[in-house]
Every structure is written in structure tokens, then in C-alpha cells.
Assembly symmetry: C2
Homo-oligomer: 336 residues x 2
Amino acid sequence: MAQHSNRQWILKKRPVGDIADDDLVIETTPIPTAGDGEVVLRTHYLSLDPTNRIWMSDMVQYMPPVALNTAMRGAVMGEVVESRSPAYQIGDQVMGLATWSDYCCVPAANLQLCPQLPGIPVKEVFGIYTIVGPTAYFGVVDIGQPKVGETLVVSGAAGAVGALVGQIAKTMGCRVVGIAGGKDKCKMIVDELGFDAAIDYKAQDVDAQLRTLCPGGVDIYFDNVGGDILDAVLGQMNLFGRVIVCGLISGYNADGRVPGPKNYGNILMKRLKVQGFIVLDYIPRYAEAYRALTQWHSQGKLKWNLHEVEGLENAVQAVRMLYTGGNHGKLMVKVA
Amino acid sequence: MAQHSNRQWILKKRPVGDIADDDLVIETTPIPTAGDGEVVLRTHYLSLDPTNRIWMSDMVQYMPPVALNTAMRGAVMGEVVESRSPAYQIGDQVMGLATWSDYCCVPAANLQLCPQLPGIPVKEVFGIYTIVGPTAYFGVVDIGQPKVGETLVVSGAAGAVGALVGQIAKTMGCRVVGIAGGKDKCKMIVDELGFDAAIDYKAQDVDAQLRTLCPGGVDIYFDNVGGDILDAVLGQMNLFGRVIVCGLISGYNADGRVPGPKNYGNILMKRLKVQGFIVLDYIPRYAEAYRALTQWHSQGKLKWNLHEVEGLENAVQAVRMLYTGGNHGKLMVKVA
């Protein structure tokens, strides 16, 4: 499937609210050539993640936003087709932050070889072990510090991170309640993933359901969404509870700044620890997450699903799914 | 000054907004007598603290609110005049949570002997070492975890806790900026207490002043106030910053729930740790705070000031000062 030109998604405008059709456009350029210390890779997969929407905006964020009129940034897996770095040879399977393009020219230092994990296909290594797996692992283990018998609530529970969070917490002895949108997703996280209970935020009163399903209160809240759901859970937190601020997806599409949680005062009254984290800070400790995830997966305690969309040209359409709840599992685009 | 009747401040109504004159009234009753395991003390001093206003309300809080038509709760120091507990003898100087009364009848388990600290008068032991000193100490040391050269900002900086916070942080090698109301207080914390800089929130743009005075950002924020000042500081926090949620005084007098911080999203983007605490959780570790405070005080690194109001009948008038900024130093009422 080699081709002689290179399609790139270019960020033309910063989205206001939902991503519009003309915010990003495909432009075709020659296939790049590597400069000194650089590598050109043929993209096999893009990982699509809620953070992509952050990078398109100019909100305060954890790395510089994508500059207008440049290629959209993304986590990419591919095969080295040209190398001017001693670190990589043609044919190596690599991954790292690159661009939404058929071919990416990247400094060798921004890449790593795809880890070889026994029994895990390389696209699952990329889809699960690069971002979402370590995010769930370090969020729960390092910040949540769960104790056996505690109650953990996770929002975005049917999403790629949330599904792993719940399963990891179950494995560590917690009672787990997931909040997701729609009956099917709620059924899936209970029946297939083993959550203790689910709340359908689209059809149910989250506050009332929390009181019913967590009569002893909430010890750990893994937050992927922010907004009203955050407020509802903050209101039910137990003394010395932990809130893991992993995502605030309800606000990323917002036009303007969103209000803060009205129940912020509970941080004081209940002596909560509310801690934000970005998984990139944990890269030096990834081996620990890889070991745990692989072990639990081999024991059947950790399941995941990839949701593959075919074709680079469908990347923007696909990323919108993360905001409509259209994806079922870790969202990836198969490029070649 | 012995008297033959006992005046008590009774909570008649829950204040809405500022404390009204008829929310608490003085009632006169006979001097109580001790039941089994109880002690009667003659009150010498009340400690007035912002948390008193919380206890008057029925907001979600860290201990039960004061019941209507009962005596107002407060931290009290006094002398034992009757004891039916082997733990205390007549004449002992004791302190603990009791009521705003001339005489308090208290279970012995709720009291402790006033610690004897070399060179510290007993009313300072009560005023500084019971609540505000350990609050400042554990907040800065345990939650703030300051490193030499970091920048700490404290709100309510001229208040009893804030003044100690800044001095402790200076002693630990931080650059310290205090936020206080009025030129005199700002001058005092810089000239007398050694803060590096001050921001007068009543006269200056806090956001702009923070940018000017903390060009390298804020590593630690010790929050006593919440509200708009919290939002301004959240906007200037550095990566991995710590926010110590000690008080949210701007909201205690509010009529209804106050909005949450608009900059809540920075908790994620800057990977902040926002942690609430109540000093009562640290009582098992008080000896550590006592040692540090006493040593720093003896070295001249830690100054404090008591603001004494004369007469139990002035307690309500006095507690309002905490909300108008009328007090200069740790606020206490001298009862007898």
C-alpha cells in the first residue's frame, strides 16, 4: 500500500465548541526526507484520545497547543522507512508523538521501539500500553492508593481508560461503580467487565443513584469528565477521599471557561486530596505498569477492546466519537 | 471575680449572611455541677476562629453543627472549679472544646491540661499552640512540602494562621508573598514579619500583582479564603504545585452555595495536588509542632500577636471581626 505522496491533517482553525469540518483539512505534500538525527516512518496506526481536542485549542494545557497551519499532533505507530539516526533501522516498528500523516518525519529522540510483550499483538501494545493502560494504572495505584473494601467511582467508565480503571480497582479489592452514557454501555461494564454497578448519566439522576449504589460513600473518584458529574460525586465523598483528576472532557468542547465545582468546599470539610496527573510524567515508571497490565491480562482479569476506524481521511470524523460516546473501546485509526 | 450565675451564648437561629444580633443571645443559668466523669471549669479565655461561623451554620462540615437553642461551641481555656474525674484536680489549667460560657461543664475526655512550654505564657500557649500554630505548621510542612527556593503564596496573610504560615515558610527557605486586606496589614507582614512582598486585595488587582511579584509562578498556595483569590492563584500555579485548603472564609458568610473555582482545570493541566485539612486530624502529632514552633519562636523567627477582647458579652461582636478584617493577631475573648 506504498504511496508516492503524503496526506497530512493540517489544523487551520481552533475549534469553537464541536470540531467543525473546516477546522482541520487534509493537504497533500511530498513524502518527507529525514534530516540528521531524524527518522521517517510510514504510519500504521493513530491513537485517538480526548487530549487531541485540547491540543487543537489554545486553552492552558500541559504542552504547547498545535500551531495553526501545521500538522495535527498525535500518538502514532509505524514502520521506519528512512533513518538518519543510529538508534533505528529501516523496518523497525516504532511509536511516539508525531503527526496525523501517512508519513511522519520525527527526531529519533521522540520515538521508541514498540515493546515486545508476550502474547500481546503489537497494535494492542500501541493502543493499550502507550497511553490508556499506564493512565489507568498509575491513576488508580499511585494517586488513588486503594485499600481493600473501599468504593471507587469512575466516570467515562466505558471509555478506554475508564474500563481499565474499573477492572484494575476490582483486581485490587475495591467495590466499583461506573458512570457511563447509555444502557448498552452500562450493561457492558457490569456484565462483561465485572463492575459492581453502573449509572447511566443520560437517563438517571446521578446524585440519587450514587446515594443508592454507594450507601457508605465514595472513597476514590477517578474523574474523566468534570462538570456536573464531578459535583455529584464530590458531594458523596468520604473523609480522606481521593479524587484523581485524569480528564475534564465535559469542558474541552466548551465555548469559554466552564464553572468550577460547586462542591469544592467538600475538599476542606472531608479533607480530600484532589490531584491532577498526566501519564507522560510517569514514563520513567512505565515498565511497572507493563508488568502489572500484562499479568492481569494473562490471568483474565483485564479485558480491552480496540475500536478501529479505517483510513487517515476519517481521523477527524473519528475523534468526534470521543465526545459523542460513539466509540466502543480504545479508538484507533488504521492508516496503512 | 467569682460570680454566682452563669452566662451562656445560645445559638437561636442559623445566621444567613453576616451574623445578626438576634442569632445568638446570652442566657443566664445556674452554675452547672459536674456529673460522673465530668469537670466544671471557670472560663478564662475563648479562642475565636473562622470555623465558629461554620459551626453556626448547617452547611456540610467536619463535625456536627451546633444545635439550635444550645450553647455555642468554642475552644476554651479555664481553671477547674469542680472535678468528678480522677484526671483533673481543682485549680488545674485546662483547655478543650467547650462552650461560650462563664462556666463550662465538660466530659474530662474532652479536655487536656494546658501544656507548660518554657518561656511561653499560658494564654499564648492556648491562643497559638491549640489551633493556629499547628494549623500553620502541618499545612506548610506536611501538605505543602516546601523546597528551598520555592514560592509560597498565602491568603489571609495578616490573620493568625496566615502570619505564622508565611514566617514558617520563610524559615524553611521559601520566597513568601502574602495577600491581605489594607495597606497597614500589607506593611505589617513585610516590615514586621519578614514576608518578601504583599498584595492588598482591597486596593490592587490580585491577578496582575501575582504576575509581577511571582514571575516564576507559584509552587505552594496556602488558602484561607477561597473565592476569587483562589481563582487568581490557581491561574499562576507551577507544574506539580500544592494547594493547601485550610479555609474558605469568603464563602462562610455566603447566602447559598458559592461557585467553584473557574480555574479548576489547572489542577489537571499543571498536575496540582489540592488537599483539604483540619488540624484536629493532627492531634496525635502535636508534640512535633510544639517543638518546632517553640524553637523558631525562641530564635526570633516566629512572632505572633494576641488580640484580646474583654468580656464574654462581646464574643459575638468580636467574631464578626474575623470577617471584616478588624482583628490584628490571634483573636481571643478574656472572660475572667
